[in-house]
Amino acid sequence: MRWATRAGVHIDRSACAWLIVRHLDPQAQFVFVSGPDEVPDDATAFDMRGAELGHHGSDCTFETILRRYDLADPVLWRIAAIVHEADLEDDHYDAPEAAGFDLILRALALAHTDKEVLSMTAPIFDAVYGYIRRSVIAGGNPA
């Protein structure tokens, strides 16, 4: 399936792309467009104004996808807190890691194409998922 999002991916869009590949559509292909009018007919749009999978209420797109697809995994919701704070900066969650993630994503976005950014952030989110999962099980920091 094809998925379309705005070009110039940052934390929310790169986290969503990772979430889509890992939990919704392992064969996902991503296209990057400048606006809703450029979304191909066969693609599902995300993190775009007017898209079903966008910001809704106080949720960022990552949280919207978790809700729409009933992904209740507490590890994903912990990642959602980081993504939300890095994206919206509204102090809705206590996620001190957000500032670091924000810097890394901004830096990657400056130096690489959207496709490259997604290929570099996927292993990061995989690893962070594993790390948080262990801390959830162990009830503390794993390392």
Partner: protein, 183 residues
């Protein structure tokens, strides 16, 4: 566009680096909106968002921020939120016709930030007399507050440097500014 700054470091000598980029002169992103008076919850949420973003309120239903990728995105999502709450909204990129007009928008924004920095500096000075661990707690709280203010500060009034210095003094750091990275 960034500015080049020459800074002296005791162990490294002079270093040249670019300070935070200032948005391209003259380009602003506008949000025009209408939102029903009732229910009041969405209006309140929007007002809080505007306050956090440090917008210039130019008229009823019209706010502005210097245009960059981030401010544009913030206002686009605000527009989405307004439409979801039953209102109408539009995001525009605009340019003031004169420098004087632009200054009249920038000045109140700068004054608001200057006031926030001055308050941080004042509280940092008060906290210097506190005993541990209150002093450390105060430092942590004021640093977080500083980050929030810097996020909505687009023009860097001189009070920013005073607040930074007050926080460094509170932390007991040397007076030499370390190189910093900020968004």
């Amino acid at each position: 566009m960034g500015r080049l700054v020459l800074q002296w470091y005791r162990n490294r000598g002079y270093m040249v680096f670019m300070v935070d980029s200032v948005p391209a002169p003259g380009e602003w992103v506008f949000l025009t909106y209408r939102l029903p008076r009732v229910p009041s919850a969405p209006r309140l949420a929007l007002w809080r968002k505007f306050k956090r973003l440090g917008v210039a309120q130019l008229a009823d239903g019209l706010v502005a921020l210097p245009a960059d990728v981030r401010t544009r995105e913030h206002l686009e999502w605000a527009a989405e939120e307004i439409e979801e709450a039953g209102g109408t909204a539009g995001v525009w990129v605009a340019r003031p016709s004169t420098r004087a007009l632009e200054r009249s928008v920038i000045e109140p924004m700068n004054e608001a930030r200057a006031g926030e920095y001055a308050e941080i500096a004042r509280q940092a000075q008060l906290a210097r007399d506190a005993a541990e661990p209150e002093r450390t707690r105060g430092l942590r709280r004021l640093r977080a507050q500083m980050r929030r203010v810097e996020r909505r500060d687009f023009f860097r009034p001189p009070q920013r440097e005073q607040a930074r210095q007050a926080l460094k003094d509170l932390a007991g750091q040397e007076l030499v500014a370390p190189m910093e990275v900020s968004s």
